[in-house]
């Protein structure tokens, strides 16, 4: 019987949660790298037992760990992330120039067809690629150097490249998102990049409606069957593009708040989208103390609250941008982790939820692997 493996990164280690296809009983392994911040753990689509983890610490810096056996054992691989050439400056919070400085890896995105190729999104924002299983890393500097880098500015969480989306139909097309610069698309495997932020509105932070960059994009999601349709959770606003990011339309509709971090698409229904509304950017908790996932079956605009099994009173956790994922089983599983250390799962597309584990450290990321 097929199964599911959840890769959970937390503030104090990584955890691997596994279940068979029924997804009723879960095994919890971890913490791996106890005490370290694990920003992201990701598995290769080409080899599900090949995992990569971003292990970081304010004290001891950045490491990348690799597993070749599905997380049973790990080995540290390359950790030198050197910017290409003279890094130059971006804007600091006060608008003054600030030199680019590597801080940590936020997101790892393995290639869809080669286990040894993996992309890394880092803070200060840049995109790196390894083609030797993480042993060495090289910047795809066309992104940072395309001309607008000097105008990028950190969001509250730092100036991070946190989203990497690969087009399954065209290995040369990829998307990234940066807080707070916006979304970018490459059509040539990362050599050159184009900002794709037309239609995004950040009224107070960015009064110029035609600003090419400066938007605080939180997350982008795509269904593999329709790679030109993108869904975005922006700082405020849930957005949709039907033309590979050339233009965006707001689809926040009837959400109780259009602020949030994660966004995910159902594995088998390209128009079914999930978000977790958060009260505001200064109050990082759900509206009314009710933890609700919202689902749209219409590609946005019309949203329904999914509450069964989720706490509907006195709940003040957050769900971070990389902390929501779906599996590919026939009845799509949806999962998310909270800053309170809970990982919730649904085996019926979000109709019913139950906690898989309740008391982990604050969850930074959740990835779902569907195992053969």
């Amino acid at each position: 019987m097929s199964g599911v493996r959840l890769l959970v990164g937390t503030k104090k280690g990584a955890f691997v949660l596994t279940a068979d296809g029924r997804r009723e009983k879960w095994t919890v392994e971890g913490p791996h790298f106890g005490g370290w911040e694990i920003y992201h753990v990701a598995g290769s689509a080409a080899d599900p037992d090949r995992l990569y983890a971003s292990q970081t610490s304010g004290w001891f810096g950045q490491l990348i760990q690799r597993s070749d056996d599905g997380g049973k054992s790990w080995a540290a691989v390359g950790k030198e992330f050197l910017y290409d050439g003279v890094p130059g400056t971006h804007q600091w919070y006060d608008g003054t120039p600030h030199p680019w400085e590597f801080k940590r890896v936020w997101h790892l995105e393995p290639s869809l067809d080669d286990p040894d190729t993996v992309y890394a999104g880092v803070e200060d924002a840049a995109l790196f690629r390894s083609t030797d299983g993480g042993a060495s890393w090289h910047e795809l500097s066309g992104l940072r150097g395309h001309g607008s880098g000097q105008w990028w500015q950190p969001g509250a969480g730092g100036m991070c490249l946190h989203t990497i989306v690969l087009d399954p139909t065209d290995s040369r097309r990829m998307y990234v998102a940066i807080s707070a610069a916006g979304a970018f698309r490459s059509e040539d495997a990362g050599a050159t990049w184009k900002p794709i932020n037309r239609g995004l509105v950040s009224k107070y932070e960015l009064p110029d409606p035609n600003a090419e960059v400066g938007h605080c994009v939180h997350r982008i999601a795509m269904h593999p069957s329709r790679p030109r349709v993108l869904f975005m959770q922006k700082h405020w606003d849930v957005m949709r593009s039907d033309d590979a990011g050339e233009s965006w339309q707001e689809v926040s509709g009837n959400l109780p708040s259009d602020f949030g971090f994660p966004i995910a698409v159902h594995a088998h229904e390209p128009e079914t989208v999930y978000v977790v509304p958060i009260h505001s950017d200064s109050e990082h908790y759900p509206p009314e103390g009710k933890l609700r996932v919202y689902r749209s079956r219409t590609g946005g605009g019309e949203w329904e609250a999914l509450t069964r099994g989720l706490p509907q009173r006195d709940c003040y956790v957050n769900v971070l941008r990389d902390a929501m994922a779906v599996d590919k089983l026939e009845s799509c599983g949806v999962y998310f982790g909270t800053t309170g250390g809970q990982v919730y799962g649904s085996t019926d597309g979000g109709d019913h939820w139950s906690p898989i584990v309740r008391d982990l450290p604050a969850v930074l990321s959740v990835e779902a692997q569907t195992l053969p």
Partner: protein, 98 residues
């Protein structure tokens, strides 16, 4: 043998239990001890000092013989008791929250 005590995060990373014992050729300095430590445990490269600049990471401190040696030059001799193996060099993560 030079004795080095690592913080728990780095003990786990290097997969060592207690103290690390190192052979250091020549003068026993911070740099010589860290060179020997990183040669014995390459995974520690970059965790104590920057791989490019060789400067101590800001939230890492060095202590020995009840002295804070964090701001000593990397090529200054460590205390005789460390060089003789009577006292360990303590590598410590600074108290800074978390």
């Amino acid at each position: 043998m030079i004795r080095v005590v690592l913080p728990s995060h780095l003990r786990g990373l290097a997969r060592v239990g207690g103290e690390v014992a190192l052979e250091v050729a020549g003068p026993v300095t911070q740099r010589a001890v860290l060179d020997a430590l990183e040669a014995a445990h390459p995974v520690l490269r970059g965790t104590i000092r920057d791989q490019q600049t060789q400067r101590r990471r800001p939230l890492v401190r060095f202590f020995a013989c009840a002295q804070d040696l964090s701001h000593q030059p990397p090529d200054a001799p460590l205390p005789d008791a460390v060089a003789a193996g009577a006292e360990p060099l303590l590598i410590v993560g600074a108290m800074a929250g978390g």
